[in-house]
């Protein structure tokens, strides 16, 4: 009897009313979630401000050193070592080592806040297959990481231009080297965002996942550098940040740094980190109770 009621009720409505979750719909849902939080906007703003501020600061610093060298004032090793041309070209993405933390934290929060607030129950009741949720978050984490870095670096370069001009230095934002470095950095931050997202899905704890990400990106390289021995010198090359440094040399016209892996190797190592962590994140999400 009740099934008859149900059938009548249903047949009266158009077919699209019976639509269920698919990847595009989940993507749309995740967009609403991401943009409806104030914390997202604050973190994005912080990231851009950091990139722009660092570019401006570096422009001023490079200018100061150049002036000193030209005046014959400073002839110390620091001034000698400074490759002004390269420094100016890489200046727009100078703040990336800090901006990556902001983007990484944002990516962690995208998934960990689901679990800490209990939102995950509503989310995964709506999408019981679960994986599209993490995949959609991954899309946004990567896009946000890439776009924020590129846009922030670009604005940073534009802000740096007049400062550099004071010291008769020139930065051409359209030059191949500037674009190459900015794009590679943007790709790196996108990778960091994916690692953060995966850690958030694995640990389901905001603080824990952010601390783990910081340890991976900042603490481990320092520890590996401090411990003597060939093993750690070699192993250090395979840490995400050092692999990224190798990747940044891809397509570079200058000589490769022998302290790093080959650019393609570095890229592969970085991709391997992302794939391994995300893979573990997907498996955990499917198997663990929400």
């Amino acid at each position: 009897m009740s099934t008859a009621v149900q059938t009548n009720r249903r047949s009266a409505v158009p077919q699209e009313r019976l639509a269920g979750p698919n990847f595009l719909r989940v993507l749309n849902s995740e967009r609403i979630k991401l943009l409806s939080l104030l914390s997202t906007r604050i973190l994005l703003l912080c990231g851009v401000v950091l990139l722009v501020g660092f570019a401006a600061l570096q422009a001023w610093g490079i200018g100061q050193v150049t002036t000193n060298v030209q005046n014959g004032g400073a002839t110390g090793p620091r001034a000698e070592a400074l490759d002004t041309t390269s420094a100016v070209l890489h200046l727009p993405a100078g703040g990336v080592s800090f901006a990556q933390l902001i983007v990484g934290a944002l990516a962690v929060l995208m998934i960990s806040s689901e679990f800490t607030t209990g939102m995950s129950r509503a989310t995964f009741a709506a999408v019981p297959t679960r994986w599209p949720v993490l995949a959609a978050k991954g899309v946004y984490a990567a896009v946000v990481g890439f776009v924020l870095t590129y846009v922030g670096a670009y604005i940073g370069g534009l802000v740096a231009q007049p400062i550099l001009a004071n010291y008769n230095l020139h930065l051409d934002m359209a030059s191949g080297e500037v674009q190459r470095f900015m794009l590679l950095n943007a790709a790196y931050v996108a990778a960091v965002a994916l690692m953060g997202l995966a850690l958030g899905a694995l640990l389901r704890n905001s603080a824990g996942a952010i601390v783990t990400l910081v340890a991976l990106l900042f603490v481990l390289p320092i520890i590996f550098q401090l411990i003597p021995g060939d093993f750690f010198t070699e192993a250090r090359k395979y840490l995400p940040t050092n692999a990224a440094d190798a990747m940044f040399e891809a397509g570079s016209s200058s000589a490769l740094n022998t302290a790093y892996l080959e650019p393609w190797q570095g890229t592969l190592v970085l991709v391997a980190y992302v794939v391994a962590l995300l893979g573990a994140g997907f498996v955990t999400l499917r198997q663990r109770d929400v």
Partner: protein, 330 residues
Amino acid sequence: MIQATDLAKVYGAKTAVDGVTFTVQPGRVTGFLGPNGAGKSTTMRMIMGLDAPTRGTVTVNGAPYQKHRAPLREIGALLEARAVHPGRTAYSHLSALAATHGIPSQRVNEVIEMTGLGAVAKKKVKGFSLGMGQRLGIAAALLGDPQVVVLDEPVNGLDPEGVVWVRNLVKYLASEGRTVFLSSHLMSEMAQTADHLIVIGRGRILADAPIDDVISSQGKARTRVRTDHPEEFSRLLARSGVTIQAPEREVLEVGGLDPRTIAQTALDHQILVYELTPLQASLEEAYMQLTKDDVEYRSHDASHYEEPPASSPSGALGTKTPNQAQEATR
């Protein structure tokens, strides 16, 4: 319809749900009643596919939750803890959920109005009272216009007006032919809302029957007698299998005799009786009887409910307990 078969959930050494089998039928409100820690919420999370059962199965409208193409249109749930990010507005929370099923924003506005959240829809959930949070949870449950509605402790934190609203809402949903599954540890709420009861204690089903049957099978029918001579009358009524209590002066509560026998006794002995009321056992009593061995977190003072007559020392004699006798003669 919800069907659970030998459904069990074990967390390490603790068995939360211990092989329960039950069916929740459409067209009526089914109450899910049990003490805290009895396994109500765990069962509901398994229905919603959030927790994987250790053993057994549970299906909604014939299929496991994960197999449904459009789950929110099959079953909507309000689960115990708030399932909302506090930094989001009620409107964006519901919009995000609606987006997963392509539910139009018109329906989002509809459930917001239906649950009385219109005034606060654009405010952050952070500032919501417990009651408004519950209303938002119910709004989310109704978003997909589902055939099955599962509500875990829906009246928790609601003001009296909200309680009445939930009561009417679930009855209305059931009257439309939907399956309504409602958990609570408040027996009085169940008595007024549910048509059918599933009682759970320590992970096991203790009763699964229409609410009236649960009451009558557990509580003992009694008769309240008001007379000017309670002592004399109770002496006359006393016999094997009869319990007599004196809750207040001039009042006797007689168990084990029907009102007609009591009236006949009074007539035979020329004792004036001016009240003779059959007493229905309350759901509270029935529930306490059912769950008294199955309360996970029992308070030390368990004397607020009546011991079964058979186990009380005075019960066998069919007379009043000393305390009550004293009270009656005062």
